[in-house]
C-alpha cells in the first residue's frame, strides 16, 4: 500500500519505455487512443489556432495606433476582430486547459490508466480538427465580420461574409466539447483508484468536473442557436430577423445562455490549475479545500442564470435587469472565496518562486482585477455607461487572458517535466512570465480608461483624443507578443536539450508525480491505492508515515 504513494524521490521501475517512445511514426499518433498522446495532439492544434488568433490581434493593435486606422480598411478590421474573437474563444480558450491538461492529467490524478472512452476521446480530437479546418477555410476564403457574438439580424441577413462557414465550424467543434465533457464526467465518476474518494480528489479534478457539466449542458444550446442562424440565413426562415417576423433579442438570449457559462468553461479549469500550483510551491495543504471545491460547483450552477447581464441596454425589461444584476453579484462571491483561500494557502508555507508559481501569483493578481471590475458591470446604472465600450474588452481580457491564459501557461510549465520528461531553463521561464505580466497590464489597463472615457469597442477608426491610450495599449501588445514567443522557443529547445526531469522535480504531491516522467502508456505500473487527502504535504512536528 505504501509503495503506491511511493517515496517521492523514487521512480517506479525504470524500463525506459514511456508513452512517447513506445512507438514512432505519424500513424502511431493519428490512431492513438492514449489520453496523453491525444492531449499533445490537442496542444499542437490549439497552439496553432492561438497563433492565428494572435496574428489577428497584432494586426488590430497596429491598426489602432492611428485614429484613422494605420493599416487596414474598415471591412478588414471588422474581419480581424471577428476572427480573433471566434478563434480565441472557440478554438483556443474553450478547449485550452480541458483538452490538453485535462486530458493528460485527469486519468493520472485519479489513478486510472486512461479516460473512460479512449476511442471517443480520439474522435473528439478529429471532430475538433474538422471544426478548426472549417474555420481556417472560412478565414482563407474571405473571413467573417460579425464579431464572435453573431448578433442578428446583422449576421443572418445583412453581412456579406462567410457567416455560415464560421457558424458551421463552431457547430462542429461543439460536439468535441460535448463528447469531451461526457468522457470526463464518466471518467471521474467511475475510474477513480481505490481509496480516491470525492474529497480526496485534487481540486483540478473538481474544476474539470464543473466545467464538463457546463460543456454538456451549455454546448447544445449554442449548437441549436447557430443552426437556427444558418436556417434563417440560407432558407430565410423568420426566427431572428423582424423583417421576416423574427425576434432579434431571442438570438441574444440563446447566445448568452451558452456563452456566459462558456466564460466559466474558460476560467474554472484555470482555477483548478491554480489550486494545484499554489499548494505545490508552498508545500502546503490548500486552505479551505471544501470551500474551494464547492465554490466551483456554485459557479457552474449560477453561471447558467446570469446571461441577461449582457443585455442590460438592449431594451430588456427593467425587472429582468434587476434579477440578472442580483444573480451576477452572486456569482462574484464564490470567485472571491477562491482568491481568499489561495492567498491564505501561502500563510506559513514554504514558498519558492519557480516559473509556474510566478504565473500562479500573476493569475491571482490579474484575476482579482478582472473579477472586481466585473462588479462595475453587474451594477446596472454603471453598466449602462460602460456596456459596449473598451471597459468590457479590458474586463474580459483580464479574466480570459490574465486569468485563463496565465493559468494555462502556469500549468504547462508545471507539468511540462511530467509531459516531456525534460526540464526547461527556469531563468528564461521566469523572465518570460514577468514579460507577459508587464505586457499584459500595459496592453489592457489603458483599455479600462478608454472604456470609461466612452470609446466603443469594435472601432477601427476612433476620435483623436483616444490616441494616447491606444498607443500605450499597442505598445503593451508588442511586449506581450514577445512574452508569448519566448516560451515557445525554450520549450521546444527543452524537448531535445533539456536535462531529464525525474519523476517529481517539484517534490509535489499528487498521483501524477508518483510515476515516471514521461509516464508509461498505462500511467501506473500498478494501480495506486490512495490512503491520504490531496496536498498532504509533510508538516513540522508531525510524524510522516
Amino acid at each position: 500500500m505504501s509503495t503506491a504513494i511511493a517515496d517521492i524521490h523514487e521512480a517506479p521501475a525504470e524500463s525506459g519505455v514511456n508513452y512517447l517512445n513506445t512507438s514512432y511514426g505519424v500513424k502511431s499518433w493519428l490512431f492513438t487512443v492514449d489520453h496523453k498522446r491525444i492531449a499533445l495532439l490537442y496542444l499542437g492544434t490549439i497552439t496553432f489556432m492561438f497563433l492565428v488568433g494572435g496574428i489577428a490581434a497584432v494586426l488590430m493593435r497596429i491598426n489602432l495606433i492611428e485614429p484613422q486606422g494605420a493599416l487596414v480598411e474598415p471591412d478588414t478590421y471588422n474581419k480581424l476582430f471577428s476572427i480573433h474573437g471566434i478563434i480565441m474563444v472557440f478554438f483556443f480558450l474553450v478547449p485550452s486547459i480541458p483538452a490538453t491538461l485535462g486530458n493528460f492529467l485527469i486519468p493520472m490524478m485519479i489513478g486510472a490508466r486512461d479516460v473512460a472512452f479512449p476511442k471517443l476521446n480520439l474522435l473528439s480530437w478529429y471532430i475538433f480538427v474538422t471544426g478548426a479546418a472549417v474555420m481556417l477555410y472560412c478565414v482563407l476564403s474571405g473571413g467573417v465580420d460579425t464579431g464572435w457574438t453573431f448578433y442578428t439580424p446583422f449576421s443572418s441577413t445583412y453581412s456579406h461574409t462567410n457567416v455560415v462557414l464560421a457558424a458551421l465550424a463552431i457547430f462542429i467543434a461543439g460536439f468535441s466539447s460535448i463528447l469531451t465533457g461526457l468522457n470526463f464526467v464518466v471518467t471521474i465518476h467511475k475510474m477513480r483508484a481505490p481509496g480516491m474518494t470525492w474529497f480526496r480528489l485534487p481540486l483540478f479534478i473538481w474544476s474539470m468536473y464543473a466545467s464538463s457539466i457546463i460543456f454538456i449542458l451549455g454546448t447544445p444550446v449554442i449548437a441549436i442557436t447557430l443552426l437556427l442562424l444558418g436556417l434563417e440565413r440560407i432558407l430565410h426562415v423568420g426566427i431572428f430577423d423582424p423583417a421576416l417576423g423574427g425576434d432579434p433579442l431571442l438570438f441574444q438570449h440563446l447566445f448568452w445562455f451558452y456563452s456566459h457559462p462558456a466564460v466559466y468553461i474558460m476560467i474554472l479549469p484555470s482555477m483548478g490549475v491554480i489550486s494545484e500550483l499554489i499548494p505545490a510551491f508552498s508545500r502546503k495543504k490548500i486552505f479551505g479545500y471544501s470551500f474551494v471545491a464547492f465554490s466551483s460547483m456554485a459557479i457552474a450552477v449560477i453561471s447558467f442564470l446570469v446571461w441577461g447581464h449582457h443585455m442590460f441596454v438592449t431594451g430588456q425589461s427593467i425587472y429582468a435587469g434587476l434579477v440578472f444584476s442580483v444573480l451576477s453579484f452572486m456569482v462574484a462571491i464564490p470567485s472571491g472565496v477562491k482568491v481568499f483561500n489561495w492567498t491564505a494557502t501561502l500563510y506559513k508555507g514554504s514558498i519558492s518562486y519557480e516559473a509556474p508559481m510566478l504565473y500562479a501569483l500573476g493569475f491571482i493578481g490579474l484575476f482579482t482585477v478582472g473579477g472586481l471590475t466585473g462588479l462595475f458591470l453587474a451594477s446596472l446604472a454603471v453598466d449602462v455607461h460602460l456596456n459596449g465600450t473598451y471597459f468590457i474588452v479590458a474586463h474580459f481580457h483580464y479574466i480570459m487572458v490574465g486569468g485563463a491564459v496565465m493559468a494555462f501557461m502556469g500549468g504547462i510549465h508545471y507539468w511540462w517535466p511530467k509531459i516531456t520528461g525534460r526540464l526547461y531553463p527556469d531563468l528564461w521561464a521566469r523572465f518570460a512570465a514577468l514579460v507577459i505580466f508587464i505586457g499584459f497590464n500595459l496592453t489592457f489597463f489603458p483599455q479600462f480608461m478608454l472604456g470609461y472615457m466612452g470609446m466603443p469597442r469594435r472601432y477601427g477608426i476612433y476620435p483623436a483624443e483616444f490616441q494616447t491610450l491606444n498607443v500605450m495599449s499597442s505598445a503593451g501588445a508588442s511586449i506581450l507578443a514577445i512574452g508569448y514567443a519566448i516560451p515557445m522557443v525554450y520549450l521546444f529547445w527543452s524537448l531535445r536539450y533539456g536535462p531529464p526531469a525525474g519523476p517529481n522535480p517539484w517534490r509535489a504531491k499528487g498521483l501524477e508525480w508518483t510515476t515516471a516522467s514521461p509516464p508509461p502508456t498505462e500511467n501506473f505500473l500498478e494501480i495506486p491505492i490512495v490512503t491520504e487527502d490531496a496536498y498532504n504535504y509533510p508538516v513540522a512536528g508531525a510524524a510522516r508515515g
Partner: protein
C-alpha cells in the same frame, strides 16, 4: 506662488488633454453615475491592494529558506471562511441597491420631456424634432430640459450612446426603445454607435449640440421650414384615407384613435395591451395580430409601404389626437 499654481494648473491641463481620464459630466444623471463609479473604483483598489500586499508579505516572510524546511500545519477556521463569504456579500448588497435604484430612476423619463425620434440605419443617425426639423448625425437640444428619444432601426441593431451623458440604449429593428437625458452643460458631445453594425460601424458617430434655450430657438427658426411631425403624420393618415374607418367619434368600422395612446385596450384575444409606439407599429405592419375586441379584423396590412420615418410621423399624429384631454387629466 500664484505663478506656481498657474504653472501647475497649466501642466495638469496639458496632461489632461494628452491623457484624459474622465469624460465630461454633461447631464443631470452623470454625476450620480460617476459617484457610484468612483465608489466601485475605491472597492476595487482597496481589495486589490489588500490582496496584493498580503501576497507580497507572505511571499517574503514565508520564502523557502532551505529545501528541507517543513511548513507549519494550518487549519482553516470556519469563522474566517464565513467572514470572507459574508462581508463581500454585504458589499454586493449595497452595490446592488445603489446601482439598481439609480438605474430605475434613470429609466423613467420625466412626464414633461420633449420627444425626439431617432432612426438608426447603416451607417447614420436620422433624428427628427417634433417641430419638424430633421438632422443627420447631429442633434441640437436645449440645455436644462428633459429630452426623450424614441428610437428604432431600419436594418440591424445599433447602439445609441452619449458618453458625456452616461446614457446608452440599443436601437432595434421592428420595435421601439427609449432613453432620456437632461443636458445641463452647453457644449458639443460625442454620439457613438455602440452595437456592431457592419462596415462603417466606427463611423456611425455624430455630435450632440447642447445650447441655451434662446440659441436653440434660433437654431430651430433658422433651418429649413418644415411642418411638425404630427402634421406630417396627419397628411399620411389622410392620404391613405385611414380616417374612412378610424372615425374620430367612434362611429367608424375601426376604433377611434382619439385619446387611445397611453391607455390599455382589450384585444380580440382577450389580452390587455398598452397602446404605445410598438403596438401602433404592429397595427400597421401586422394588424390582425393586435386587432381590438369588438371590431372585425378587416384592416389591411401596410407592411413595407411606410418608411420607418413615416411610421414615426403617424405615431406622432396618433399621440397628438386627444393629447389635450390627456394633459387635462393630469
Amino acid at each position: 506662488m500664484m505663478g506656481l499654481i498657474q504653472f501647475g494648473l497649466r501642466g495638469a491641463g496639458i496632461v489632461a488633454a494628452l491623457f484624459p481620464l474622465q469624460p465630461p459630466e454633461a447631464s443631470s444623471i452623470a454625476g450620480d453615475v460617476d459617484h457610484l463609479y468612483f465608489f466601485l473604483t475605491g472597492i476595487t483598489v482597496f481589495f486589490s491592494v489588500l490582496i496584493f500586499s498580503i501576497i507580497f508579505y507572505f511571499m517574503v516572510k514565508y520564502r523557502r529558506r532551505s529545501d528541507d524546511e517543513l511548513p507549519e500545519d494550518v487549519h482553516a477556521p470556519m469563522a474566517l471562511e464565513l467572514a470572507w463569504t459574508i462581508i463581500p456579500s454585504l458589499i454586493c448588497v449595497v452595490l446592488f441597491v445603489w446601482a439598481s435604484s439609480l438605474y430605475v430612476r434613470n429609466s423613467h423619463p420625466p412626464a414633461a420631456s420633449t420627444e425626439i425620434f431617432v432612426i438608426g440605419k447603416q451607417w447614420m443617425w436620422h433624428l427628427q424634432h417634433p417641430e419638424g426639423p430633421r438632422e443627420i448625425d447631429e442633434l441640437h437640444v436645449p440645455a436644462g430640459e428633459p429630452i426623450k428619444l424614441t428610437m428604432t432601426s431600419q436594418d440591424v441593431i445599433h447602439g445609441f450612446s452619449i458618453p458625456a451623458f452616461r446614457i446608452k440604449k440599443d436601437v432595434l429593428p421592428g420595435r421601439y426603445t427609449s432613453i432620456w437625458f437632461e443636458a445641463n452643460e452647453p457644449g458639443t458631445y460625442h454620439l457613438f454607435c455602440t452595437e456592431f453594425c457592419g462596415t462603417n460601424h466606427s463611423e456611425m458617430i455624430g455630435w450632440i449640440y447642447v445650447m441655451p434655450r434662446a440659441d436653440y430657438e434660433a437654431w430651430l427658426a433658422g433651418g429649413e421650414k418644415s411642418e411638425p411631425m404630427a402634421q406630417q403624420g396627419e397628411e399620411i393618415f389622410n392620404h391613405y384615407t385611414c380616417g374612412y374607418c378610424h372615425v374620430a367619434d367612434g362611429s367608424g368600422r375601426g376604433p377611434s384613435l382619439v385619446g387611445v395612446y397611453g391607455k390599455p385596450e382589450k384585444l380580440a384575444t382577450g389580452e390587455m395591451r398598452m397602446v404605445d409606439e410598438t403596438l401602433i407599429r404592429q397595427a400597421l405592419t401586422d394588424p390582425n395580430s393586435v386587432h381590438l375586441d369588438g371590431y372585425a379584423p378587416i384592416m389591411p396590412t401596410f407592411q413595407g409601404q411606410f418608411t420607418e420615418e413615416q411610421i414615426l410621423q403617424l405615431i406622432a399624429y396618433v399621440k397628438s389626437l386627444g393629447a389635450e384631454e390627456r394633459t387635462k387629466a393630469k
